[in-house]
C-alpha cells in the first residue's frame, strides 16, 4: 500500500517537475491574485494586514482549483486514466497518492505565497506552530476534496465550469476555519485558533475517508 502511494505521488510530482506548469503558470497566477487584492483594497497596509489570513486562503483555494484540474488533465491525454485503471493499483492508494502530490505542491506554493504576503502586506507571526499545523491540515482537506471532485469532473465535457461550483462550497468551511486559525497565529484577531484547528482536522479526516471510499467507483466511471 505504502509503496503504491509513493509510486503515484512520485509520478505526479515528476510530471510537475518536468513540465514546470506549476512553477511557470500556477504560482505566478497565485501571486497575481495577491497583487490584485492589493489593488482592490487600495494598497492600504492596515487593511491588508488585517485581512492577510483571509486573502491568503482565498488565493490558495482559487489556485487549488487550477492545481486539481492540472492533476487530472495530465491523465486525460493518451488514455492515461485507462492505464491507471489497468495498472492494478489499489484505488485507495491512487487516491492517497494523488492527494499527497497535491498536498506537496500546494504546500510549496503556500511557502512561496507566505513570502510574497510578508513582503506585500507586511505583518508578523506570533504562533509559528499553529501557523504550520493549520497550513498542513487545511491543505490536506483541500487536496482530499479536490482529488474527489477532480476525478468526478475529469471525464465531463463541462469539467472546467462544474469543478469550481462543486468544490468551492465544500471548501468554504476549510477556508473559514483556516482563516480564523491563521488570524490567531498572526496575532491579528483574538480568537482561539486551536479550536478552529480541531474543526479543520475533522474536515480533513472526513474528506480523506470519503475520498478513499469513493475514489474507486469514480475512477471506474471517469
Amino acid at each position: 500500500m505504502w509503496g503504491e502511494i509513493t509510486l503515484v505521488t512520485g509520478k505526479d510530482l515528476r510530471i510537475e517537475r518536468r513540465s514546470r506548469v506549476g512553477l511557470t503558470q500556477i504560482a505566478p497566477f497565485a501571486v497575481t491574485v495577491l497583487v490584485l487584492f492589493g489593488f482592490a483594497l487600495e494598497g492600504d497596509s492596515a487593511t491588508l494586514r488585517a485581512f492577510t489570513a483571509g486573502l491568503f486562503w482565498v488565493t490558495v483555494v482559487f489556485t487549488a482549483i487550477l492545481a486539481v484540474q492540472r492533476s487530472f488533465t495530465v491523465e486525460s491525454v493518451n488514455d492515461n486514466r485507462d492505464a491507471l485503471r489497468l495498472s492494478g493499483l489499489d484505488p485507495i492508494a491512487i487516491f492517497l497518492g494523488k492527494a499527497a502530490a497535491l498536498v506537496i505542491e500546494l504546500l510549496v506554493l503556500e511557502v512561496v505565497l507566505g513570502f510574497v504576503v510578508a513582503v506585500l502586506y507586511g505583518g508578523s507571526i506570533s504562533s509559528p506552530g499553529l501557523l504550520g499545523l493549520t497550513a498542513v491540515v487545511a491543505t490536506i482537506a483541500v487536496a482530499a476534496a479536490g482529488t474527489i471532485y477532480g476525478v468526478l469532473a475529469a471525464s465531463l465535457r463541462v469539467r472546467e465550469t462544474i469543478l469550481p461550483l462543486l468544490l468551492l462550497p465544500v471548501l468554504a468551511p476549510v477556508l473559514i476555519a483556516a482563516t480564523r486559525a491563521f488570524e490567531d497565529a498572526l496575532g491579528e484577531v483574538a480568537v482561539n485558533g486551536w479550536s478552529w484547528l480541531v474543526l479543520l482536522t475533522l474536515t480533513a479526516v472526513v474528506y480523506t475517508a470519503f475520498g478513499a471510499l469513493a475514489f474507486g467507483t469514480l475512477l471506474e466511471e471517469s
Partner: protein, 271 residues
C-alpha cells in the same frame, strides 16, 4: 393499444393519494395562516415577529430532512443500484433547495427587525446554511450534466453523500461556537419550553402541514423524474414510432365514427 400519450399513467403525475395529500396541504396552509397570523398570541420577547418562525423553522427542518433523504437515496443507490433511489435523491434535493432558500429568506426577514440587518456574517448557522444551499445547487447542476444515466447517478450519489456529511457540521455549529453566534439557541427543547402552548402548537402544526406538502411535492417530482428517465431510456425513437402509428390510426377512427353517425341518424329517421 393505447399510445404513450393515451396511457393513464403518462397523462399526469397525480393519483388518488397525491390528490388527498394536495387537498390536505391546501387546507392545512389556510388553517396555518389563520392560527399563525390571528389566533396565536404574540411573543413576549419577539412580538409579532414570532409568526415568521412558523414558516422559518419548518422550512429549515424540512430542508434538512430533504437533504437527509437525498443522502439516504444516494447511499441506497450505491448499494442497490436502483434508479428508483437515485430519482428519489434528486427529487428530494430539488425540494430541499427550495425550502432551504425559503428558510434563509424568512430568516433574513426576521433578522432585519431583530438584529437590525438582513444578514449576519458572524452567525455560523446562517452562513453554513447558505453554504449548504450552494452545495446542493452544485449537486443539482451535476444531475443536469448530459451523459450516461448510470454514470451520472453514481457521481450524483457520491456528491449527495459528501454534501450530507456537512449537515452535522451545520447543525452542531451553533453549539460549538456558541460564543460567536447570535442565533437563537434551540428554542424548542424538551422540559424547558419557552414558547406559549398555542405558539408551540402552531409551530408543530406548521411542521406537520409542511411535511404533508413536502410529501405531495416529492411524489409529483419523483413521478416527473421517473417519466423523464423512462423517456431518456426508451428514447425519442419509440415516441416517434408511436406518434406515427397514432396518425395512421386516426383516418380509420374517423371512418368508424362516420359509419356510427350514419347508422344513428338512420335509426332516428325510421320511426
Amino acid at each position: 393499444m393505447k399510445t404513450l400519450g393515451e396511457r393513464d399513467e403518462f397523462r399526469n403525475t397525480s393519483s388518488r393519494g397525491t390528490r388527498i395529500l394536495g387537498g390536505l396541504s391546501l387546507v392545512g396552509i389556510v388553517f396555518m395562516g389563520l392560527i399563525g397570523l390571528w389566533w396565536s398570541p404574540e411573543d413576549s420577547d419577539m412580538g409579532d415577529l414570532v409568526r415568521i418562525m412558523y414558516v422559518h423553522v419548518p422550512s429549515a427542518w424540512l430542508a434538512y430532512m430533504a437533504f437527509i433523504i437525498t443522502a439516504i437515496g444516494s447511499a441506497m443507490f450505491l448499494w442497490k443500484r436502483s434508479v428508483w433511489w437515485d430519482l428519489i435523491a434528486g427529487a428530494s434535493a430539488e425540494i430541499g433547495v427550495v425550502f432551504c432558500a425559503l428558510a434563509l429568506a424568512t430568516g433574513s426577514l426576521w433578522g432585519r427587525p431583530t438584529w437590525g440587518t438582513y444578514w449576519l456574517w458572524s452567525d455560523v448557522r446562517i452562513v453554513t446554511t447558505l453554504v449548504l444551499l450552494l452545495m446542493y445547487a452544485g449537486y443539482l447542476a451535476l444531475r443536469h450534466v448530459d451523459g450516461d444515466p448510470t454514470q451520472r447517478s453514481k457521481r450524483a450519489a457520491i456528491v449527495g453523500l459528501i454534501a450530507a456529511a456537512n449537515i452535522p457540521v451545520v447543525r452542531m455549529s451553533v453549539v460549538w461556537w456558541s460564543n460567536r453566534t447570535l442565533h437563537q439557541k434551540d428554542t424548542v427543547t424538551l422540559g424547558d419550553t419557552k414558547l406559549d402552548n398555542l405558539q408551540l402548537f402552531t409551530l408543530m402544526f406548521a411542521l406537520v402541514v409542511f411535511m404533508v406538502l413536502f410529501a405531495w411535492m416529492l411524489l409529483h417530482r419523483f413521478r416527473i423524474a421517473w417519466l423523464e428517465s423512462e423517456f431518456e431510456q426508451r428514447g425519442l425513437e419509440e415516441a416517434l414510432i408511436e406518434r406515427r402509428a397514432e396518425s395512421r390510426v386516426e383516418p380509420e377512427r374517423l371512418l368508424e365514427r362516420e359509419a356510427t353517425d350514419r347508422a344513428m341518424r338512420a335509426a332516428e329517421v325510421r320511426p
